[in-house]
Amino acid sequence: MNSVFNDPGFWHRLQFGFTLVYHYLFPQLTMGLAWFIVYWKWRALRTGDEKYNQAVRFWAKIFGLNFAVGVVTGIPMEFQFGTNWSDFSKYAGGVIGQTLAMEGMFAFFLESAFVGALIWGEKRLGPHGHFAAAIAVALGSWISGYFILVTNAFMQHPVGYQIETNGSLGIASFSAYLLNPWAFVQFAHNQLAAVVTGSFVVAAIGAFYALRGVHSVQAKLYLRAGTFVGLIASLLVAFPTGDQQAKMVGNHQPITLAAMEGKFEGGKMASVALIGQPNVEAQRLDNPIEVPGALSFLAYGHFGSFVHGLNDFPKDQWPDNLELLYYSFHIMITLGSLFILLMGFATLQNWRGKLESSRLLLWVLILAFPYPYIANTLGWMTAELGRQPWLIYGLFHTSDGYSKVVSNGDAIFTLIGFTGLYFVIGLLFLGLTGLEIAKGPGRETNPVVPRREKVLA
């Protein structure tokens, strides 16, 4: 049997990775969608146009479904710090526990208290109260993101810590920990990427209605907002946030940068590989098409800057899955560039008033919606694979972090359990979202949603 399957660390990583990737499919949409809902509610307040309220009601329902799945899949994430990564929690709990607890107290409480009000409370709260609920939910989801990213940023670039007398980590400077520069860059990059997901989904549903010739007012609203916000967010994800993120990696994790680019030999005028296949055994990039000097410029600001290659570092410090890291990073970049082109073209067509009539483009917009999810996932894979073999960069190895008392069999058992359960949840989620989309945002002839005597619980 291959040795990796006998390594409990492999199973703990696989389970955490799988449950995390799955969980994050939902928050990335809610974080992206939240500000669309706030914007439409604000427009409804300003203009009194009922179409905006209709959009709010429809998207609040989609939001609610995503939120519910996000909650149920999110609770296991927190618990796995103890169940699967107990040695890591023992070592770093005094630091990362702070932000995990703060997420619960400051963000999750806020979001979950008001999400019900956003979805069902329009009548009881009145227009201004409903607007406030939308803002509370949006703030809650973004604050939640910040605390989680501070936690992750500590693992990427530990700051503000000290080693306590018992050998575990404690906090030395709370402000340094909370204001980790890595967290700022990562937060901006990640949140904008969530907005890209949100805008692609908004645009895709608009395109779907436009192609079917139903809900034409709403379709136009979604298409306009989705493509324009999508263009802006896609641009900002690449520059400056993506660029800053890469510089951050270059400055603090040079080995990771070399691995992301498949660069085995270091040097000046380092090139960026547009395509190519990393060949770890031969220690070279096969069949590359490269732009000379580009990596030196992008990472350090000068074409002549020296960029380290993997061979400048001992092999035990290399990320342990170079190929996956390289491809994750490159496919993410490629997708991100395509997003800019697609949304740029769609915005142009919209500006010319031809968006709703160009069926091919509408089809592309519908079919494009899964790709931001893929790009977001690949971005996280780049961050987390690039951090290996460290769990906390430079301080604590991943192989030291998992629960030594949990056997392989237990970890495999729960992984299989999650796989089955999440498959069913995925089916249900898609089915119910499909139902909501089919039901649509209500008839245009009857803009006020049917009277409902809301005595809800």
Binding site: V71, I75, K90, G93, G94, G116, T165, S168, A457
Partner: protein, 350 residues
Amino acid sequence: MIAAWYAVVSFMLIVYVVLDGRNFGAGMLHWFVAKTPDERRQVIAAIGPLWSWHEVWLVGFGGTLVAIFPRLMASAFAGYYLALFLILWCLILRGVAIEVGGHINDRLWQTYWDFIFVFSNFLLAILFGAAAGNVARGVPLDVQGNFSMAFFTDFNVRGHVGLLDWYTVSIAVLAAVMLAAHGATYLTLKTEGPVHDRSAKLAKYLWIAVVPLLLIVWVESKIVRPDLPGHGALFNPFWWIGLIGIVASAFTLISGLTSGHELRAFLGSSFLIFALLATGAAAIFPVMLHSTLAPENSMTAYAVAAGPMSLHLATIWWPVGFALAVFYFVFISRRYAGKVSVQRDTQGFY
């Protein structure tokens, strides 16, 4: 300082149990108090919009536990590995059942999700009860402060114990009956019509059944942990406040049940569970995890706490977060006050 944090962490878990316990209870009784599909939707509507808000308290507890007592969190969660994942899966299934059951108006579809709902709530009550029993009885902690447990061993309470033995099973039964009684009291408050009448009747029977079970568990606890309550507890004001709280809330509950004051009965029921668990938490302090192998392996709150700086920082932000939570709590309680309607609206919600 450590004692205060022990109180805070216990408080968060207990609040979670009291808040979500009513949902476990109402969920367990779902089939017995609601016979028609519409009645069943009514029970779901009594729980529906708030379950995620209640589950957040579990998240808040988990986060605070990592921050304040990281070493305890690490040993306990890894040791309870399979039991915890069962709890997590049941929580997932429960949430899914609430969300998807009402989305499709089809008899078979709803019957299926009603079954998942009842089943997962029942299992949750049992599992949380067994978990409480495990905390009281202790776990086979070794010298390094690690343990791993099978579901059951020889059903004995000493040495290499399992998750289930005669003591933890009886606490699980007590938990199931008591949370069912709590849920019935809650449904009496929130519903009208036949569901209300059946719940009111069940609440009385179930609370009567709680009394002998509570006595049995008390006697058993004396046998299993003769060292409790320790000498510390007798001088611990919380322990005495807890005892007075138990008596006072029991009277509130009884007077509410007999006089038909539904809100008074529900408050009494909530505070009774709160006071019982708080007294238990005060009784075991300062030991957070007792070792069944050797008492010197036990983990005390002082030994497993995070460094002084981490505790100091948490003292600054935790009260702020908690004040906000109380504010949301008031907002939510006011917004969702009153009974759920029997009529379904056009959106499929009550």
